[in-house]
Point group: D2
Chain length 342, copies 4
């Protein structure tokens, strides 16, 4: 089976990463590559790390160019995916790596994004309870945000076993590729090297409602999320430090058991041996999620920490994993759990 | 007035930083410089950034070498300061940049450090309520830990005005100089560049009881602290993201007012204009503390973020500031609020 | 004596650095701060590390705003300094941190910059033979480029003593602040962290003719320069690795002697002890130049390496040093030879 | 065909990288993993990025442990490979990633390494003229040094076509993993971040004679090499900036043609389109070599720049490529030309 794939938005970081992964995917055949402002340029000049595709030229993002593929990945700014998807047939698997189809609550969408809500698609985080089944055979996939991926996987096992109060406090460090290739002064190398700074503080980051949406059903009641992202001097990676007050009766043992149960059969999630904490470099370029959890009896809190590569498991790897499930391919095809370190 | 100063432990990061500051201090005259394993080596080979002292040679840390100074800074591994201090006269100002004399509760000391408790000295965080008075004229000063400095200044105004519940949740990012010059694999450049990782998770980090000790008296009741430090790829700097549940009635306005009140007259603390968040680079090499605070009504929490340079305000700058107060010099002498950026 | 100073272009890296230094300069009084696209914004939002100036507002760069100062620093894009300088009186000390007035040969200017040549001003590299005298009392100063500063100081002693052939080969690493705050994709943090890349290869970099201009008079014959700059993952600093074929008779001893002779009385140049090589971090934020030199008998070459901070000695520190000389102040006033490390 | 592979020295950077590559190699079956000081520890604790091998335990490096494999990779400190290799049968393919068997001239070995010379093995840089044939079917392979790999590939085409004088001047930037996991103060993260520094200056770096050995036969006369390595703030990657005086008649066109000829059929070498310069990040984690070349008519020099990943093509990737050739497998098996960027 050869799967013919197109990528809309191939000049950005998410587009480049999905191409990097597809180049190693045994069933994928890379078709059209599009970009708007960069149409006409060679991929070699825009993504010089993708040697085998250096001679390819970006085309404009039009229905004609995207036609004739089995799968279309959308790596577009938020608000642009719905219009492109509408032009693609129902028989094409459309995988939106942007935010447009993640949220179920239109009010959340309005509040955090402020554009008309494009609707909700099956959610591409297979490790969440119930998610894998919804993806199988689907022709539309909404890839999760990078932070919600890291946070939801760090916390849901504790909520699934009712070990924590429904008030989560999260501080996550992200590499600067998470902000995309946008030209902003605060993303210049001279600004970010040697500096750590928070942004979107106080409940205003757009990924917050997505975390609430993921955790509340597992907890069986509304979970509030206090989320503070920080920008750190690295290109890739997210480390999410998540905590919540322990419910009475929670012990280090019951906590560990909850995570072992949740991740016993997950190919991409590695619950580290006790005492070993995740490091973003260990998952660099891989689709792995490293997780560790602790119980702090003095502060009466559980602390769960996850590390992912924001561009791989946090975006393009999650997208390819979801593609595999949607197409009925082996879920791990073309994806690695081996990081590039040091 | 010329103040003759010795530094014990001049080859490490804390020792180097206090020398960097003293070189610009108009009243300080740099006397003996000691080190144990490095005795006999030139400072130029160990601290090549301290050009004016390049020709100096390190001596052994003995009472004879340290005698005859007005001030002795101790930049020693924990557990070693008490013995050295005991050999110095009561008329010498001894400033301990290590942990030995910070904690008031011997049980805390035993639990987190496991050595005999050396006693408690006046605490060198002048911005804390009551601390400045205790430092004036003192001949002994315990310099705070770098994390407790960042965290206590970020949170105490909220507790002073009774705006937050006494359960603080803190995640702090630190540059790797915070771990000192110790030769450990996890501190190698190849390991830390491109990686973020937590350590001392779950209530076991030694700075935790010091935070509790600082915040509880201000709050008027025991404050619990959940503290997670993370190592990030930069040499210097701490960003502390601190939060606590807002008490009923707390508003963005009352929160802002509490911080404006606390820091109106503090020369080293800059409460940033609303909407501007601290970045560690802005305080690089300076004694400044940048702070911002927000109220998240959805999660019903306050979030306070502070940025310091761990080696300056977090260690050697705080030490010099305390020296100035103890000696009756102007508090800002030889200290800057200007960062080296970008 | 209070010197009233204005800075045109205060929002960029060079402008910010000259302000950082002037804030510690005992004779400087900071007057007008201007910027064009940023006029009306607070300096605190643009240069948050300059705490004491946070409340200042940028004005437009007009003759009226710049009037009434003793010294005006121009931190403008190349091609813009001449017009602004023409509006300032002959009694005002104008210090151009841009390229406009460095080159003596109009043909070089035309070839490398392509704009009308604005003329040549006294050259602000006091350590070069003859340069200090030309600066004393001058009302116009052309601050050297950052690379020519590092390269000229690394090589001229060898040429002054006729120890090397007049064909210099230079590879220099620079921090990304050297490219300014311009918004370019290749300067984004995600691009520069973890990457080294050359640019301006093959004799086309604009600083090349300036190096030729500096070295040829010292050598007494035309010196050719092969110059390759590389962008490395740090915010500040230049390491220039310079070599030339040794002339017959050159020895390690004659080489060392040449450098000792050249720099015996230079306050900002530190010829390191034999065997110790410069590191950019040792001069971070300082006006120091660290230099080491070696003779390779197998390859029959001399290798001289210098480290500077591109924004300090390479730009704003050199500018303040020249200001001091031009005004008859002590040359070291307000400048440090102490780096901020680690 | 399944190839059973052992790795001696699996806890270091070279050992970890060869395991990373072998995990994706379709014919390799990973057998014994050894380490001396780390014997008994889990690989998961030492190389946490190698998820699939996390449960493996390191054994001691003994003949018994290494017996029964088709291939043994030696990732040992120099001077230790010969003794281990002597204990392995002649029918085992032994691939030495250390320096012991690279140099043909015992005098060079004595001068630069100072231990008894272990002899010379076929040289694992297949792109060098004649090298591929010597590797085919060999049971012993000496993997080149990382710098000689980058430098030889950057320069040999110019020498093969007699376009350059036999005096090469090379400045190379390397990530700090090149120094291995050795615990040295100058390799600490706090030291290397924000700093560039040279080392081994003046003809004393051990890789110098290896470059001479590679280039001289191609040039048909002795080539002298002036080599200066610099340590830059990144974990991986080498950028080699190489130049030599152009011989009369050399033009930009003849230069380009020489490189096109040399690399037309090389699967891992990408001569970039004119005007595009290599960046280390583009080859991060890949076995690709990116090369560009220019002619500087003013300085009458050719400048060739190459980028490799020091751990992949510079060590473990070159080793696997050589293994493939030695075993008669397709040369590209298990190796990628796609970098992990940004």
């Amino acid at each position: 089976m050869a799967v013919r794939v197109a990528v809309a938005g191939a000049s950005g970081y998410a587009g480049g990463e999905v191409l990097r992964l597809l180049l190693s995917h045994p069933e994928a055949e890379i078709g059209a590559l599009t970009g708007n402002s960069n149409a006409g340029q060679s991929l070699g000049s825009l993504q010089p790390h993708l040697g085998p595709l250096a001679g390819r030229t970006l085309e404009a993002t039009t229905p004609e160019v995207l036609a004739g593929h089995d799968v279309v990945f959308l790596a577009l700014p938020h608000g642009q995916s719905a219009a492109v998807a509408a032009q693609l047939g129902d028989d094409v698997l459309v995988i939106d790596m942007g935010a447009d189809h993640r949220l179920r609550d239109s009010a959340d969408w309005d509040r955090f994004y402020g554009a008309p809500h494009a609707g909700t698609w099956p959610y591409g985080l297979p490790e969440l309870p119930g998610a894998r089944a919804a993806l199988a055979g689907s022709k539309r996939v909404a890839v999760p945000g990078c932070f919600p991926t890291a946070v939801s996987l760090a916390l849901f096992p504790a909520y699934a076993e009712h070990l924590a109060e429904p008030e989560a406090v999260i501080v996550a460090a992200t590499g600067t590729s998470g902000a995309g290739k946008a030209l902003k002064t605060n993303l210049l190398g001279a600004e970010v090297m040697g500096s750590v700074t928070p942004y979107g503080v106080g409940g205003v980051h757009r990924h917050t409602p997505e975390m609430v949406q993921n955790l509340s059903p597992v907890a069986g009641r509304p979970v509030s999320v206090s989320f503070t992202p920080t920008l750190v001097p690295m290109a890739r990676g997210i480390l999410a430090t998540c905590s919540a007050k322990a419910l009475p009766g929670t012990t280090a043992e019951s906590l560990r058991a909850a995570y072992e149960k949740a991740y016993a059969d997950e190919p991409f999630v590695q619950l580290l041996p006790e005492g070993q904490w995740p490091a973003t470099k260990s998952v660099h370029g891989s689709n792995a999620v490293h997780i560790q959890v602790a119980h702090d009896p003095s502060a009466r809190r559980i602390i769960a920490v996850s590390a992912i590569d924001n561009l791989t498991k946090g975006t393009a790897g999650g997208a390819v994993q979801s593609m595999n499930i949607a197409l009925g391919l082996p879920e791990q095809l073309g994806l690695s759990t081996i990081g590039v370190a040091p």
